[in-house]
């Protein structure tokens, strides 16, 4: 509470000394039209043109999202070089950047307008848990490589910052209905109401579909005999989002966002165990931006609650974050950003021992960024952040090897940094060299989980390990971007090296009882190097196209059983194309992913691996604009072949099923009003 008061005081002080300048938040649409390219603040915290960002990043526009017909965000992310998307069910995918993907992937930070939307209990992204609709997204900014020094500890492999339309600047109002195979039924509605200097956008949606493809299910007979259809197959959710914006005066902008999502999604949890998960997400996010003679100030205060009432693994996670940053210039060439973040993250419920048990993290993190425009050709950017995390547990646990609450009272102190040098020898060439240190501080469940999941037929438990070390990544990158205006084409390339240490992963062991214990451990170090090449352009003013290739090569160092060197595809190719013909729109994206191995926990409660064959993913959409307001479209997903992207495990309790992904087709009707 004391910190909230401090934040409020800061806001008041900032308000009191305003009065010299213009609106503060980025008008993305206006800036993009002025500079002829997307703009972003996700690379350094400073507003800048995408081509000048000192990191490898790609920006996916609303039009690209719409034209793709993507059902969810992971589907559109598959188009980006360096991004690994592995889908376990129709409504569930795990996403990583530059390798190290795993079930419940938690090395990637997902933000909506700067607000963390992932569940901080484990740090994994529940994509079905977003309260925004796909039509509200202005752009998705994909930052590749560690960016912990700007965003904090989940930004170990990268950041995905989803920017929604501004209610004041963008009037988005439309209704959408989707129906299709896998009993897919979905409705979404978005309406914006604009007044003089205030605006509000309200959106809501509901979805009900099968998590499996019925035609391609295998291995389900045992499961379906004991589990009803609804529990087995569902991918369902209901959401509402309210976004209010007030241009207080020429110098200040206030935004309040609240949302709710409740969803049931068939998914794969750590240990590759299939599970049906019910989650409620609620959030409230206040943003205040203002400018005075001391620079541009941004204050963020938000709370995200994730309630997962799932029996012995049920939990309630309440995250409160307060952030204040000040961006200012010294002279004409130096931009400085000073920021402070406080977070209070509390996990309670069965997963940490019982309904009255809590495991709490309080974190304080100051950071600073310095951007120096040395000359028209050279630019240097440096940022550093210090994280002080203090964990406490309120009571002894009754299960597992770590029962004494004092074992969980620990402090983690870490620093992270990003340094980059950019060189623009010509108007069309940009070279970058960068080095960065990223962190994944163990999540609350990885550190503090403690629950007995089952007692029959064998005793099975799920615990964290309070002795876990922070996972660290040192990343080195060389990149070259080139514009080819004479061919209406862009080229991007990067080679990178990542040295990860103390990698956290799943471990199965047996403790007295005997009890099979599912827990976590630091498994040692792993090095990855890779390369990304991509082209995109417009041919003869009609054919939009893109092509990219990703190569990954991982070498696990001697440790306790790491498997990343086999568990990620070495080769990944994506091809995209789209064109218009009169009122018709045609788009397709094709992806090839080479073979890899998938780690799982088998029925004997030991960890093993299965081969995942190379596969193609082909998506295609045909749309017809009946008039300016009405669009009808049909979209096919995974049209090429039935395939698996993960192997599913099976523990001694509960059902399991195959995760073969099959073809889906959706009809889509969109009406703008």
């Amino acid at each position: 509470m004391k910190n909230i008061k401090l934040l409020a005081a800061s806001l008041l002080v900032s308000t009191a000394i305003t009065g010299v300048a213009q609106a503060q938040t980025i008008d993305y649409g206006m800036m993009e039209s002025i500079f002829g390219e997307p703009v972003t603040a996700s690379a350094t915290g400073k507003p800048q043109r995408a081509s000048e960002a000192p990191v490898s990043m790609e920006i996916i526009s609303q039009e690209e999202i719409r034209r793709s017909g993507a059902r969810d965000i992971p589907q559109i992310l598959r188009r980006v070089a360096g991004v690994q998307v592995q889908r376990s069910y129709n409504g569930r995918a795990d996403v990583s950047i530059r390798g190290f993907n795993k079930p419940y992937a938690n090395r990637l930070l997902i933000l909506v307008n700067g607000r963390q939307v992932l569940s901080d209990s484990f740090g994994q992204a529940n994509w079905a848990g977003l309260s925004i609709g796909m039509d509200e997204i202005r752009q998705i900014e994909v930052v590749k490589g560690p960016n912990t020094s700007l965003f904090g500890f989940n930004a170990e492999s990268g950041v995905i910052n989803i920017i929604t339309f501004s209610p004041i600047q963008d009037d988005i109002s439309q209704a959408q209905v989707k129906v299709g195979t896998q009993e897919h039924k979905e409705v979404n509605i978005t309406h914006t109401a604009q007044f003089d200097n205030q605006a509000v956008r309200i959106s809501a949606g509901e979805l009900d579909a099968d998590g499996f493809n019925r035609d391609s299910m295998t291995g389900m007979s045992a499961a379906t005999s004991t589990v009803d259809k609804k529990n087995k197959n569902d991918w369902a959710g209901r959401r509402v989002n309210v976004d209010y914006e007030w241009q207080v005066n020429d110098a200040s902008n206030f935004r309040a966002q609240v949302g709710h999502n409740t969803n049931n999604v068939r998914q794969m949890i750590p240990f590759a165990i299939p599970s049906r998960s019910n989650n409620d997400f609620d959030f409230a996010h206040l943003t205040y931006a203002t400018q005075n003679k001391y620079g541009l100030w941004n204050a963020n205060l938000y709370k995200v609650s994730n309630d997962s009432p799932s029996g012995t693994t049920g939990f309630e996670n309440d995250l409160m974050v307060a952030k204040l940053d000040n961006l200012f210039k010294i002279g004409t060439d130096h931009s400085i950003r000073v920021a402070g973040e406080y977070r209070d993250n509390q996990l309670s419920g069965a997963i940490v021992g019982g309904v009255d048990d809590t495991f709490d993290l309080k974190l304080l993190a100051p950071s600073v960024m310095w951007d120096w425009k040395v000359s028209d050709q050279w630019n240097i950017t440096n940022s550093v952040r210090y994280d002080h995390a203090a964990y406490t547990r309120n009571a002894n646990t009754t299960f597992g090897p770590h029962t004494n609450a004092n074992l969980f009272d620990r402090t983690i102190e870490e620093f992270s940094f990003n340094s980059a040098v950019s060189f623009k020898p010509t108007a069309t060439d940009t070279f970058r060299a960068s080095v960065s240190r990223g962190l994944h501080i163990p999540s609350l469940i990885e550190l503090g989980g403690s629950t007995q999941v089952a007692t029959t037929p064998t005793s099975l438990g799920f615990t964290g390990d309070p002795g876990l070390e922070t996972e660290r990544v040192m990343a080195y990158e060389l990149a070259w971007d080139k514009k080819l205006p004479q061919h209406n084409m862009n080229f991007r390339s990067a080679v990178f090296m990542q040295k990860a240490e103390n990698l956290l992963d799943n471990k199965v062991s047996v403790i007295a009882g005997p009890t099979v214990l599912l827990t976590f451990d630091n498994f040692g170090d792993s090095d990855t190097w890779g390369a990304e090449f991509g082209f995109d352009g417009v041919h003869n003013n009609w054919l939009r196209w893109g092509a990219n290739y990703t190569y990954l090569n991982t070498d696990d160092q001697a440790g306790k059983g790491l498997l990343y060197e086999d568990a990620q595809p070495n080769h990944q190719v994506s091809l995209m194309a789209g064109f218009d013909h009169k009122n018709w729109e045609f788009d397709t994206d094709v992806h090839y992913i080479s073979s890899y191995k998938s780690k799982l926990t088998n029925a004997a409660s030991t960890i093993t691996v299965e081969d995942i064959d190379a596969y193609f993913v082909v998506n295609a959409r045909a749309g017809y604009n009946v008039n300016d307001n009405l669009n009808i479209a049909i979209t096919g997903y995974n049209l090429a072949e039935n395939h698996r992207e993960w192997a599913l495990g099976k523990i001694s309790t509960g059902p399991s099923g195959a995760n073969t992904l099959g073809r889906s087709v959706l009809a889509n009707l969109t009406y703008k009003f």
């Binding site: 300048a21 390219e37 703009v39």
Partner: protein, 177 residues
């Protein structure tokens, strides 16, 4: 029409064409960018706005640029927050202009540039050009050049002297000198 006359006429047209094209007149893309940038300033009230194109009658380049902008603006140019109304202002008359946007044409002398900036500072008006050397020389606040990329530069001292207030995010995205 005899052959010599035709050749002479073609030569004249060609020469005119060459000389006309030798100047980098303001392009539609540059005017569009300026219109949007103007909307980021709180110093120019929304609605009808006088867009003063300051030119030197004795300079062919300046006259050519004026002609190009006249062609672009016509009876009015719809900007995001403004409707630009063109006023052609000879440089010797600029001190009497009350326009809040002073556009500096190509081909102006250093003294002419200074005279326009002086008026801009006195009237809290935005001085803007597509001729970047004016800005680099400290005689104009804002320069916009749209070629293979978009180059926008702002002269920091002239900006402060003119008491202008631009969107802060925009200022982080341009080159300040």
């Amino acid at each position: 029409m005899n052959l010599h006359f035709k050749i002479g006429l073609l030569s004249a047209i060609s020469m005119f064409g060459l000389s006309f094209n030798a100047y980098a007149e303001t392009s539609p893309q540059e005017l569009a960018a300026i219109a949007k940038i103007v909307s980021l300033s709180k110093d120019i009230p929304a609605g009808d706005a006088a867009f003063a194109v300051v030119y030197d009658p004795s300079s062919a380049a300046s006259n050519a640029d004026l002609a190009a902008i006249k062609g672009l603006i016509g009876d009015g140019y719809k900007a995001p927050k403004h409707m630009f109304k063109l006023e052609a202002v000879p440089v010797d008359n600029v001190s009497g202009s009350s326009a809040k946007i002073l556009f500096m044409t190509e081909g102006l002398s250093g003294d002419a540039q200074k005279k326009i900036l002086t008026r801009g500072v006195a009237n809290q008006a935005l001085t803007v050009t597509t001729s970047l050397p004016y800005v680099e020389g400290g005689n104009c606040v804002l320069g916009v050049d749209v070629g293979s990329g978009v180059k926008i530069i702002m002269h920091s001292e002239s900006y402060s002297a003119s008491k202008l207030n631009f969107d802060s995010a925009f200022k982080f995205m341009i080159k300040e000198i």
